[in-house]
Amino acid sequence: ALERSEDQIEAISHHYHTLKLSTFISSAVCNPSTNGEKRKGSLQMVHKHGPCSKFNEDMMKSLTLDEIFSRDQSRVDSILNKVRKEIQGSKTTLPAKSGSSIGTLNYIVTIGLGTPKKDFTLAFDTGSDLTWTQCQPCAGSCYSQQDPIFQPSTSSTYSNISCSSSECAQLDLARCSSSTCVYRVGYGDGSFTIGFFAKDKLTLTSEDVIDDFFFGCGQDNEGLFVGVAGLFGLGRDKLSFVSQSADKYGKVFSYCLPSIDSSSGFLMFGSSGIGSNVVYTPLSASQDNSFYGLDLEAIYVKGNKLEINPTVFTTSGMIIDSGTIITRLPPTAYSALSEAFQAEMTQYPLTQGPSLFDTCYDFSNYENITIPKISVVWSGNVNVEIPPQGILIPVSNEVYCLAFAANQDDSD
């Protein structure tokens, strides 16, 4: 640096991140985020494997990287299937695995259910609608979870929903059992939950209570949910928490997903407390489903706009999803991104990574690295700089990959 002029140093800091590799490693100590804490309608959000998670090691036996990325791909495949189904119409024959997906839901929040309130740790999912938790007596089967399983008979405010109710009619898959509404949700990886459609008091904080919250009381729950007590659905459909709490929070929520080194984030409902530096892009009109669509217009690497025909982005569209790990781009856009990134990383040796990635580096001889900044531009000229933890993902102690991947086809 001493040999560089001030202008050169300014240009470097403007277009590059220089980082310690330890930035990508989980800290050992939980330092809860203060942003969002103690505000009305706010919950602490933590990574299931981070230092603030209460899950014990037995409960959270680590998946292999292949398993993690295979599940991530399974989630993306099921999102694609669901969107295709809604575009093509319900009569189209589609793979049986369509529907919402479980995938890799690593972010968890704790909510209270019932009277008296019991706490349950649920996976937070903007790609699902129905909130559900495992319920006693687990008539089918329950997997192991960290919290005690919800016991409806001990809640004075719990009740099952009848088959003839309008709420039961809103379920995608429902049937009757002795006049009681029974729901079923299948997920993209074959996981499922079946149980009584019910209502009870849901408590976020002592000031934030939804008296008649409709949710799934899961009696037969199978698949890759281990650890969490169920799912907290924040999709756009009528039964999601967002819709059910619309009177209270006006269908507004915000969150910060903590990086592995930043211990905790938050999930907050309502518009108070939203940062003044937030910039907005319109929800995409093209996504008429429970996902949140937005329109990508351009990608910048090191301040240079990639030469990508805008139709590449408009052909397929884009959604934002809290449960998918790796951003998927149309192949043409991904190729341009990868090429531009590699051109700025020639000082580092390329290496092989998991099959999802083709741009991986061996950093075994480095403590600090310098990487080009990446920005995405959403509709309305909304420029969002990707944080450095979102540019590279460690796949081993030494190997880090560009944390983006390509769909199979530009039309996906």
Partner: protein, 31 residues
């Protein structure tokens, strides 16, 4: 369809304002 995943969302403040039909992003959301 493309998917903007959670790795890229880390540390951002992400706002879903469904009523106003918009999604917001702000830097340094967790700190």
């Amino acid at each position: 369809i493309g998917v903007f995943g959670n790795t890229q969302q880390q540390t951002l403040e992400v706002v879903y304002d469904v009523t106003a039909g918009r999604i917001g992003f702000g830097p340094g959301g967790c700190s």
